[in-house]
Symmetry: C2
Subunit: 215 residues, 2 copies
């Protein structure tokens, strides 16, 4: 008898991701998986997106962290439904955790579901969650060489948000070279230059997101 453990595990994740997608579409929920290094600004980006879209779009959030519920508490202050997933050591979210979270969200009252993945530029790229869009947040202080070092993440995503552009005057970072590199390895990725501190670039991202939600 042939035993294929890894293949079975990945297969199970894909299967559950497919069910998540069905459930989301049945409830007309558009879902975005937000990935990034620790400290790139995922939570600030979620908060800015909520603030710009509030009133037009009903938003829900799933927060993924190894431990703590700091981010979920911060997001809940915006008055949107939030579920915190604590992975208990695991370095990424998997579809089964999203399945559980979906069962704890008022899907009928949500148009847009933002998933904040665990802070990690590697493993989250390997696991579909059932989302419609994968977004990567890269931040200026991380340096412009990251696309060469974490190629799977940079080639997998539908959109790339370059965050913390307010720090460009203080660090060595060639934004044009970075954008060119990303375009070379991932032509489909839409790129946004954003500062979640000043709010710059957030309306452009929100406008594009609304277009994608309608298509």
């Amino acid at each position: 008898m042939e035993i294929k453990v890894l293949k079975d595990i990945l297969g199970a994740n894909e299967q559950i991701a497919g069910k998540n997608r069905e459930l989301l579409e049945k409830n007309k929920v558009f879902c975005v998986n937000i990935m990034a290094s620790p400290g790139a600004g995922k939570t600030s980006f979620v908060l800015q997106t909520i603030r710009v879209l509030k009133g037009n779009v009903r938003i829900g959030v799933i927060e993924g962290d190894i431990s703590s519920s700091i981010d979920a508490e911060t997001v809940a202050e915006e008055g949107v439904p939030v579920v915190q997933i604590n992975t208990g050591g695991e370095c990424h979210l998997e579809a089964v955790q999203i399945q559980n979270a979906l069962n704890n969200l008022p899907l009928k009252d949500i148009d847009l579901l933002l998933i904040e993945n665990v802070g990690n530029l590697v493993c989250p790229a390997e696991f579909n969650l059932g989302e419609h869009l994968k977004i990567l947040i890269a931040s200026v202080p991380e340096g412009d060489d990251k696309p060469f070092k974490y190629p799977l993440m940079f080639t997998t995503v539908d959109g790339l948000v370059l965050n913390k552009i307010d720090l460009l005057p203080y660090v060595k970072f060639n934004a044009d070279a970075f954008t060119k590199t990303v375009k070379n390895i991932n032509a489909k990725a839409e790129i946004f230059r954003v500062s979640c501190t000043t709010g710059d670039g957030v309306p452009e991202w929100a406008k594009w997101l609304k277009t994608r939600m309608k298509s």
Copy 2:
């Protein structure tokens, strides 16, 4: 018959880590495992450490990356022996990769071996490599809440380097609160405030490292 796959894997890593440690001590090589998020400044920190200790301490470097050899090339320009490990997708270094790298380094000509782990605040903390010290680099732009979110990494290390202190005027980061949090969860960790851009704090780190090498 009982099958314990995970336990066997971890056991194998510990066994090889022990062999690495024996080989290092036989050759009087002191070994430091440097871990951090992507873009926290690991390579800059390795370069600064080489520059401060050069002439006094013979240094060798192992560079861990998923792909590319950018960092190894940069470090090699300092005139020290370097081996690049490409993990090919894996999000952390394991002892067996270090074993292979040690076989490709002139251990008799090295006093201090710096290992730059893959950029990741989660998985590298789980794998001993045979090192004498584990050092974590946290950087100011990542935010001061990271100890709550990545507790294993912050409690595992012997030393914590807070890098990019030159950016403190431009971002929201309470350095005293951060230091207090780290001390609360990891009393043994020595803490250094450093800027690898200006060189501030590097001599203090290098002085402590030399003391640890002699003990």
